[in-house]
Point group: C2
Chain length 576, copies 2
Amino acid sequence: MKRKERDEQLERMHHSVAHIMAEAVQCVFPEAKFGIGPTIENGFYYDFELPRPLTPEDLPVIKNKMREIIDQNAPFVAQEISKDEARGLFAAQPYKLELINEISDASVTIYKQGSFTDLCRGPHLDSTGEVREFELTHIAGAYWRGDEKQPMLQRIYGVAFGSREELEEYLSHQAEAAKRDHRKLGKELDLFSIHEEIGPGLICWHSRGALIRQTIEDFWKAEHFRRGYDVVYTPHIAKLDLWKTSGHWEFYRDYLFSPMEIEGQQYMLRPMNCLGHILIYKSKLRSYRNLPLKYAELGTVYRYERTGVLYGLARVRGFTQDDAHIFCRPAQVEEEVLEVLRLAQFMMSSFGFDQYELFLSTRPEKYAGTESMWVEATESLKRVLERLALPYEVDPGQGVFYGPKIDIKLKDALGHVWQGPTIQVDFNLPQRFGVCYIGEDGSEHSVTMIHRTVLGSMERFLACLIEHYGGAFPVWLSPVQAMIIPIADRHVDYTRKIESDLKNEGIRALVDDRPERMNLKIREAQLEKVPYMLIVGDKEVASSSASLRLRNGEDLGLETVAEIRSRIQSAIETRS
Amino acid sequence: MKRKERDEQLERMHHSVAHIMAEAVQCVFPEAKFGIGPTIENGFYYDFELPRPLTPEDLPVIKNKMREIIDQNAPFVAQEISKDEARGLFAAQPYKLELINEISDASVTIYKQGSFTDLCRGPHLDSTGEVREFELTHIAGAYWRGDEKQPMLQRIYGVAFGSREELEEYLSHQAEAAKRDHRKLGKELDLFSIHEEIGPGLICWHSRGALIRQTIEDFWKAEHFRRGYDVVYTPHIAKLDLWKTSGHWEFYRDYLFSPMEIEGQQYMLRPMNCLGHILIYKSKLRSYRNLPLKYAELGTVYRYERTGVLYGLARVRGFTQDDAHIFCRPAQVEEEVLEVLRLAQFMMSSFGFDQYELFLSTRPEKYAGTESMWVEATESLKRVLERLALPYEVDPGQGVFYGPKIDIKLKDALGHVWQGPTIQVDFNLPQRFGVCYIGEDGSEHSVTMIHRTVLGSMERFLACLIEHYGGAFPVWLSPVQAMIIPIADRHVDYTRKIESDLKNEGIRALVDDRPERMNLKIREAQLEKVPYMLIVGDKEVASSSASLRLRNGEDLGLETVAEIRSRIQSAIETRS
């Protein structure tokens, strides 16, 4: 069977299992009102209005009922009926009636199997017996039509596969992903929190999350300084007029927070960092000799996203971009993009990502700049990708209106794909703001701007790191690098000495001097995924050493404090 | 003469010179309308409505006229007249008429000297000839009554002293202060800019200013980490309700930006960082064993200040506080304040400030918490100041309503006083937010919070540093630490090698490879106050060395690159 056929067959199965689940729910809850039951990746869901809230204990009951229906091997029968007939058939189903009334055709299709009939375009399997392996995975609440003003329905999610092995592989992958879920680990490792009182999508970075972020930021700043970037800071708000000039007010209004007023002037929280950089550029006359100028900023921006789409650190309303804007001559675009890609590769490999996909987005229908500018810039981007021998896909017409771009998507250890570095060429803002340089000919020329991030945002990048490493960060990123555990109270003084010795060398060490048993402390340090545990008793004090354990449980035996220190330092320096 | 008498005599003189200046202006511009002419520190000003804008060239003309009036030695004569008489006398003076109408007494006092009569309470000198040394310093625009809706008048500022020496000392001090003005040096040294398009009081930190800030922040973070602070990051906005709970909406409304709306919820830009820290504290159950907990954040806050009071970096609308909140048991307040004061002393001395004044502000009339809490906390603060043998003044009743505080004011090299560290005890927010810990007795107790900054804000602290050092920052803070100057093109490659050699050791080095003459490059590096200049010609290339010059013009002769590197490194490490 070809891939397309297999996909279609799987899609039919997913859809059929959804109907089987609906039939089973109808058996269990005869009063059930049915919403919709579409297929999704690997499975399906169905929304119901039920007389009481579902609990996880309901799922096995529904599953057993589904098994019975499958065993009956009832055929799926399609029938075309008039809308009036359909209204009669679904007279007790208000959601179905609503859907019927919205269909513009004169007739509608229904599918029937066993005791259950659904409004449905199909296609379906021939009969319920063709269903192979399925599982009901979870329950969630969902507003009818995704609209907060409509009733809240109950949604059951399920998956279905062609074989037991595929199902089991999927479920174990899901279990691993759930263990690595950054929202769960973020709480367990005390990395961050989100508070309804502050607002959804707004992140409080706790000490340990902040230490990771600070380590990333310090590394990022040093690397950018080394590569000739000027790190700057610009305000989080600016007059609304500036955002009108830039076009953000016109093009991104849906993502903007409403303006504030000061002394009769309207101000807005920034959705992007570019405008401050443009004004710094324009604060002096710039010559071709000064270009490229590269302004970098760890700039926090605020964008409105609907509450429903917010997701842990990965989709938020306030985030800090590792942003930079390169002001260059058009002829420098190729070389600058090359340098950005090199930096992006260096960054990705520094953080342990060796798999990624590249996409080149070209001119959309509506665009700024001239066609020849687009051709030239797009060709530059292609040449760079080829010079670096980076395979890429073209996304035709998917560039931003102001210029072509390269997107890089990272694959984490579980194969999840994350938005990574972005490099966008911009012909638009330099024109709108008259961003110029004095050329060799002594006259003014428009610069080309390159917008780029190499990590994306600190929030999303931490989410990605947490899931990539399952919380067991490499030593250099670990918020606590060494946990020192005294066996008895009389060893505490010595552990304090080790702590200050390690801290003086820049190692994030902590003593666990709680009045608890050693084994509990070791177990907790392992749960906290601290890379090194230094256990100290009489023998260790006597020999100026510690017993070294790794978070994977490996026992490295006695090492002197000096040995341990240089072991940790070398792990930090090599970022391993 | 006693100090008080001398001050009164000086005040009389300042006021009299203001009248003499007004008479002179009347001679030069017979159409002049007169506003007010009060005394200020060291002098006076007078506001006028004139037929044309003043230029600096007008000042000598007015001064000469003043000299003539002084030589005439005309007596100052006071007279009490009825308001009706006064209205007749000042019929052509609309501003004076406005003032007369606002006086509630039946009669008013006028003072007359020579050809000039003013509405004035006095007192004055006996006659114009008693005036000693004076100077007209500058012209400015000023709205009538400081109200932007009223006409803009022209203001002339002047100073007057009892002796030539005092005047000259004052003027030379002013000249030095003007040279060190952080707004002027900020532009000359390319440290920051403020843009009308973004909004007044909002700072763009250019690369060089940002390097100084980053150096300060890195130092600050390392020092806080070492002292057991948890550095965190929290959002710049939060729901308005949170600011209502905290009391900020009620007590600080005049300093708040207007709210924004998202999905029907009101949000506000934060004026303070405390609330995020409180919510992080509250994200877990805390025991007495966990205290003190110290959350530190380089937190940018936004507060409304009238356009008229904004002043360079020193008074702004957006600023980054080096903030921290210490959550502790009441019994720990003394020890914690002691530690903060030690940290503040360490910080001030690290940045070259050895003169400062301390103020202890006690309970105001309206206060939160109980009287015994205030007594206890105030006594703790006093004991700490005494334990550290720090002399201080008491500001009775000047504490914030939520607790007593210690303020430290820094004196810069010119004797100007800057707001420095602040330490505030807070009984209020823990109550409002129910911020508790589980005590040894197993039950809940309210924590005490200490709010503190040790630098104040990054913006104001940079202003203070610029003026303290006159822009010649110590090596560790200098944005460019070494400027490498090739004498001819053939030396450029070698200077690039030195540059990368120094950069690899963390030294901020730059090559000036512009096609300009060596002397111009040296002069410009000196103007940029770069501490080390490395000049490289044939001799230097041959001996792997450079000729070293300091920014004060001192020539240190030939040194090897290794010697120079370790010289600069040691200056950085010792922060000298």
